[in-house]
């Protein structure tokens, strides 16, 4: 960046309002979701039918199996399955 006049500084501070708190909190809780995630991944690796259902509709498959619907776990699972 070049000039630091006060008007420009004000504009640039204004350009980054906070993200919604709930979004930030959910992302911060990703490490806590990790434990639940490992169990689901292990099961998907051992059970082809479960894995197929997860790939077809992740959230519905988790719900059908009685897993708590944790958005952080869902996001991590999406990433895991996409990278395999």
């Amino acid at each position: 960046m070049t000039a630091f006049d006060e008007e420009r500084l004000a504009r640039l501070i204004r350009a980054l309002p906070p993200a919604p708190e709930a979004w930030v909190r959910a992302a911060q809780e990703l490490p806590l979701a990790r434990a639940g995630l490992d169990e689901i991944v292990a099961r998907a690796e051992a059970d082809a039918e479960f894995r197929a259902r997860l790939l077809a509709d992740l959230e519905a498959a988790l719900e059908a199996e009685g897993y708590e619907r944790d958005p952080a776990v869902v996001e991590l699972l999406k990433v895991r399955f996409k990278s395999k």
Partner: protein, 187 residues
Amino acid sequence: MAQTLSDRELVARCRSGDQQAWAELVDRFSRYVYAISVQAFRLPDSDAEDVFQEVFARAYEHLDKLRDDAAVRPWLAQLTRRLCIDRLRATSRERPTADEELELAGSEETLTMLEDALTVHEALAAAPEHCREILDRFFARDESYRTIGEALDLPSGTIASRISRCLGRLRELLEGRTRPDTPSGSR
């Protein structure tokens, strides 16, 4: 909260499993990721939320693939841009859009401006707390003098002059920045 760790140090701590460091990393870059999706790519909130969560989920899962820990900022920016384009591509299936158009969707001018904004917020995080608080509340959170006065226990009449002084202080901080591996981000 003032930033004390550089991006490099923060990423190293995240990689070692430090949950507090992860929370700090999310905090540091949350505004930037959010702004890219809603300002540069103009995603609606529901799509922006999906992108936001996916950016941090991917970052969390793939932090070990980052070659240079100090480069977390451009890495996250690139990841966010890519996911925004994917999202636009998915929503434009009914109304086919050329790939070049999607690439151009994130206005380069806005992305550059957001880069600069992150640099300013980084300097703000290193500013004295009273300045950080008042500038963030007034400009980024769009709070009125009255709200700020009540929250910080200040007479409304002093707020304008304090904002002006703090902008001057921030300007000095930015002009004095030379270290290449400083923390980047905002809160």
